[in-house]
């Protein structure tokens, strides 16, 4: 489907995900949800997994959703969306933008089966993962997206595993479009949503969304921390179109990971009186690997 450069570059503000929801101050997921819905427009059906987003935006009787909203369980947003898509096909309805949405837990852990099925069967659905790197809604427990070294309530000594690479897993299913994004760059994020929606088939967009409560930083720093995640190389920004990595956002001046880690309470234990522990060097190594792999 063709989409003009002008439309791709336009930043949309339609408030299809309205204010008055109950997210914490500085929640980047709330911002991302609004950007995603607005980029998609009114002709959208949102299939949302249980999690922070669903809980703070959809209490009876005042949900924030101005597009149709369907919530079932924690693990099945992708499968539910597949059902909606199948119905639209069977009933010859549409076209409509079906966007399955969930956090890192519901996407990469408990929902991995369902998203893999959706990818593999080739449904025309965009899946957006809002990655705040832990099970935030239930109180900051670790997920497979929790980065190395982060303290969560179930990894009180610091997480020992590396972040699962879901963009690669998604691409390995042979889907036509994968992208990563952050909420400090509205234009880039919305452009990616619009690009995805213009392509037929399964699409996956992975958005890093800082969580002030879970990451242990002031709410107003969410945007800055998003930038630091990118500029350290810890969260590379790229697209994978038909299996090829492309449009990689290069980092002219690489920021040492310490600058990203220091403002966050979940990494506080990695600094003894300001002096970094050995884990910090390991985290820098992870950043360096990303820099090399994506040629950042």
């Amino acid at each position: 489907m063709n989409i003009s450069e002008e439309e791709l570059n336009r930043v949309e503000k339609k408030d299809l995900f309205t204010s008055g929801h109950r997210a914490c101050g500085g929640c980047a997921q709330a911002l991302a949800a609004r950007l995603v819905q607005d980029a998609s427009g009114e002709n959208t059906i949102a299939c949302v997994a249980t999690g922070c987003l669903e809980v703070f935006s959809s209490p009876y009787p005042d949900p924030s959703w101005r597009v149709p909203f369907l919530h079932s369980l924690f693990e099945n947003a992708a499968a539910v969306a597949s059902g909606v898509e199948a119905a639209y096909k069977a009933l010859n309805k549409g076209p409509v933008n079906i966007i399955a949405q969930g956090g890192d837990g519901s996407t990469a852990d408990i929902g991995l089966q369902c998203i893999s099925g959706m990818f593999e069967r080739g449904h025309n659905i965009l899946y957006v993962c809002y990655d705040n790197e832990a099970y935030m809604n239930t109180g900051v427990q670790r997920s497979s997206f929790t980065p190395y070294g982060a303290r969560t309530s179930t990894t009180p000594m610091g997480n020992r595993t590396r972040k699962k690479d879901l963009p690669s897993i998604a691409a390995a299913h042979g889907i036509p479009y994968v992208a990563t994004a952050t909420t400090d760059d509205f234009k880039d994020l919305q452009r990616k949503v619009k690009t995805a929606l213009s392509i037929e088939g399964p699409k996956y967009i992975h958005i890093l969304v800082p969580c002030p409560l879970g990451w242990g930083h002031h709410g107003e720093l969410s945007i800055e921390i998003s930038r630091l995640a990118k500029d350290t190389g810890l969260f590379p920004i790229f697209e994978i179109i038909d299996g090829k990595v492309t449009n990689v956002r290069k980092i002219p001046v690489k920021v040492p990971v310490e600058e990203y880690l220091k403002p966050q309470g979940r990494f506080r234990h990695l600094f003894k009186k300001g002096v970094p522990t050995a884990e910090v060097a390991e985290i820098q190594a992870i950043a360096n690997q990303n820099i090399e792999r994506f040629n950042l």
Partner: protein, 391 residues
């Protein structure tokens, strides 16, 4: 030692003292504090165990199944949606006679989504072949876990310890937390019966064709019935060792002269007992029969305790949609049809989705059933929220 602690904390401390070898953990409100406290206990080196952060409750149950089948003492905790997600595995564990202990922090079931307390979750798995014990307060919640491992490992039946989510898990109250050596003396090391071990190869979880399947179900059913002896013995031993009553089949309160008997289980019995004392001051004689072991169901205990009681009301935080009260149904079945046809057994459904159960509502219930029997009533229902045509 007596401490003022959160229910979840007490359970975690006591479970750690039971020395599980493998703990699987997946977060779900309101059980999370239990697995978080255990993560800290393991992380600090106070318990030598494998702590597996799994990716879903289905895997949490699968991990403890595998661990138990390999000879480890295994534990996990869940609630609500998590329990339902692991339901396939729950049946498997019982069918395989694996002595796993699981904490169910009772919570309502979606849809609509609710994180608050009721007992629909454990009720949904009541037929699976697990022993189900219900805690009245946090002391009993802690105590039941110690008993649970012992009961499980003697009967080779898995045990689900049920405690009301938020109401007990998140409540601070005094709990006597035992010393590790007291628990060690009470709970011997796990002697596994059938495990996967290359030295003694055996198959666990084979498929059974119509020639063999039925006998497995019969054996499991009989094992559940016979576990009554063990449940009572362990409770009695516990009382002798730790000096307090907890667990067992049923408990009664001011039953002897009662004109009306309330049957219930879980934390609401605390409010009921308080009300019974106040009613007594007002000249009313109401008694309580509190169920601790819900499965196996204390049918004969209930009958024997209440055969001369003509007015009974069952209060439960569960419902079989399209049929009515589940506990009420079990209680009604406990009395032979032929006998005393004018006995009233009323059914009240309360507290669903965390709806508060104030003493005033319980008084209303008492006053109502004193006048006439109630087939089924939802206590505290807000009729104004329901469309006329749906009433």
């Amino acid at each position: 030692m007596l401490k003022q602690v959160e229910g979840s904390y007490a359970v975690a401390e006591v479970v750690a003292m039971c020395r599980p070898n493998v703990i699987s953990a997946y977060p779900i409100t309101p059980q999370t504090h239990i697995v978080e406290d255990l993560a800290l206990i393991v992380g600090e080196g106070r318990l030598d165990a494998e702590y597996v952060n799994v990716e879903s409750e289905f895997s949490a149950a699968s991990v403890v199944l595998g661990a138990s089948a390999a000879g480890a003492r295994a534990y996990t905790a869940t609630s609500s949606q998590g329990l339902l997600l692991m339901s396939e595995v729950i049946y498997c564990i019982a069918g395989m006679r694996l002595p796993i202990v699981l904490t169910c922090a009772n919570r309502a079931i979606s849809a609509p989504l609710s994180i608050w307390n009721d007992q629909q979750d454990s009720m949904a798995l009541r037929d699976a072949g697990w022993i189900q014990l219900h805690a009245e307060d946090n002391q009993e919640a802690a105590d039941l876990h110690i008993q649970a491992f012992k009961i499980a490992e003697q009967t080779f039946l898995p045990v689900m310890v049920c405690m009301d989510g938020f109401i007990l898990t998140h409540a601070y109250e005094p709990v006597d937390i035992p010393e590790p050596k007291e628990v060690d003396a009470f709970l011997p090391p796990f002697k596994a019966k059938h495990i996967v071990d290359p030295r003694y190869p055996r198959g666990i979880g084979l498929f059974a064709d119509p020639r063999f399947y039925m006998e497995t179900r019969y054996t499991l059913h009989r094992a559940m019935e016979k576990s009554e002896t063990v449940i009572k013995e362990v409770s009695s031993d516990f009382a002798k060792t730790f000096g307090r009553d907890s667990g067992g089949f049923i408990k009664t309160y001011k039953l002897k002269d009662a004109d009306l008997v309330i049957i219930s289980m879980g934390s609401v019995v605390g409010t009921i007992k308080e009300m019974i004392d106040r009613l007594e001051e007002e000249g009313k004689k109401v008694g309580l029969l509190q169920i601790c072991s819900y499965r196996p169901f204390p049918r004969y205990e209930i009958y024997n305790a209440l055969k001369d009681k003509m007015n009974i009301v069952v209060l439960e935080k569960s419902i079989s949609l399209g049929r009515g009260g589940i506990l009420a149904s079990d209680v009604r079945w406990s009395f032979p049809r032929a006998e005393k046809k004018d006995r009233n057994i009323s059914s009240f459904i309360a507290g669903l989705g965390g709806r508060n159960i104030p003493m005033d509502d319980l008084r209303y219930m008492v006053e109502k059933v004193e006048k006439e029997p109630v087939e089924i009533e939802f206590l505290g229902l807000k009729k104004e929220l329901i469309a006329e045509k749906d009433l």
